[in-house]
């Protein structure tokens, strides 16, 4: 993430926290091979404001958004493995050639103490 991206995401996270709004945060925690975004890229799924940031766009991101909506419902974090290793000559949108591991977690308000 660039410093500008990080600022934007931090402000969006803080706004959701201050409003007490439940959102889902997706973070790329590991990649193998070639992926559009690298480790550390983040996307906030805010049900009232939409998406802030990106984990790479396309089909891979769609899978992450789907997981984010599950997480918003259950309140339980998930690990999503996005496989972008379709045949390079298929012209599929998922031909970056890599795999990325994404941690999707509910944020703000924090989980109550166990």
């Amino acid at each position: 993430m660039t410093r500008e991206d990080e600022r934007t995401l931090t402000e969006a996270l803080a706004a959701a926290r201050d409003a007490g709004r439940r959102c889902a945060l997706a973070t790329i925690v590991e990649t193998k091979g070639s992926t559009p975004r690298k480790v550390g890229a983040r996307m906030l799924v805010d049900p009232t404001r939409g998406l802030v940031g990106t984990v790479g766009g396309g089909c891979g991101e769609a899978e992450v958004i789907e997981a984010a909506h599950r997480v918003l419902g259950t309140g339980v974090p998930e690990r999503v493995r996005v496989d972008l290793t379709d045949d390079l000559l298929s012209w599929s949108p998922a031909v970056c050639g890599g795999i990325m591991d994404v941690f999707v977690e509910p944020v703000s308000p924090p989980e109550p103490r166990a």
Partner: protein, 284 residues
């Protein structure tokens, strides 16, 4: 210790790096099933502002986990090229996976001279994540309006240009004043800095640069020091306009930061030659 939200940690990391400090944070991303599963998403962070101001923030839920995680955080902060990513810790008889991220103090770009190259340079510098300072002795040039992307626009005397700007090993200094005499005065000050700045670039033709180097040798500067100066500045992409020159300098700044070669990737990778040649050479 209280439970930190993702927003709390994001603010802590960003704020610390922008204030010139270092910070690292972990978040629990995988636990064994059972009682520990509730810890996923817990966060712990360490901040360092100088050697003596060390802060610890948040908790992963147990003292043993926190102790193990703090060791991971300090090790990452002590490793200059540590990579963000997954780490494992063992505590309380269980293995917990963490995602670690580190923020270093924000890199600074100091553009000396607020003329026509400084404008696109401030823009591209900000885009690359530098904290940008522009300085000039002319009040009409050192204005916010001309440099909306800069963090600071400073009016300064070129005989002592860095009087109000703390320089450090994260400073990248680009000399593009309206006169080579000013560039020279500022260059001498930059070269005498201890610790040395990360980058010193100076604009100028081959002839001008040679004249500058001759003068530096006459004043007793060693070749080791002189070879640290990036002059003429930027990568060779045939840049002519101020915008193109800014891109050439920006490419050099990225190269210094990341350690690239500055060569076209096409020539480095030679994909066509290596994988499509009719010769006996086998693809590697």
């Amino acid at each position: 210790m209280s439970i930190l939200s993702a927003a709390d940690v994001a603010e802590l990391l960003l704020g610390t790096a922008e204030a010139g400090g270092s910070a690292a944070a972990v978040v629990v991303v995988r636990t064994p099933s059972g009682a520990l599963a509730a810890l996923a998403g817990r966060r712990l962070a360490v901040t360092r502002m100088g050697a003596d101001r060390i802060g610890m923030h948040g908790t992963l839920g147990s003292e043993a986990l926190d102790t193990a995680a703090v060791a991971v955080l300090h090790e990452a902060l002590d490793t200059p090229r540590s990579r963000d990513g997954l780490r494992e810790i063992q505590a309380d008889g269980a293995t917990v996976e963490l995602y670690l991220e580190v923020r270093r103090p924000v890199q600074e770009l100091i553009v000396v001279g607020a003329g026509h190259i400084a404008q696109p340079m401030a823009h591209v510098g900000a885009l690359l994540g530098f904290k940008v300072t522009v300085l000039d002795d002319r009040p009409d040039f050192a204005t916010r309006e001309r440099f909306p992307d800069a963090d600071r626009v400073v009016r300064a005397d070129f005989s002592d240009p860095f009087a109000d700007i703390p320089l450090h090993e994260r400073s990248h200094i680009l000399l593009v004043t309206r006169g080579h005499k000013y560039d020279y005065d500022c260059l001498v000050r930059a070269l005498r800095m201890d610790p040395p700045p990360a980058y010193i670039g100076m604009i100028g033709s081959r002839r001008r640069v040679r004249a500058t180097f001759v003068q530096l040798v006459d004043e007793g500067f060693t070749m080791d020091l002189i070879e640290r100066i990036h002059a003429p500045v930027g990568l060779d992409i045939g840049a002519e306009t101020p915008e193109e020159i800014a891109v050439a300098v920006a490419a050099e700044l990225v190269m210094v930061r990341r350690g690239g070669t500055g060569l076209p990737l096409r020539g480095v990778e030679r994909v066509a030659e290596r994988f499509f040649s009719q010769t006996t050479e086998e693809p590697q």
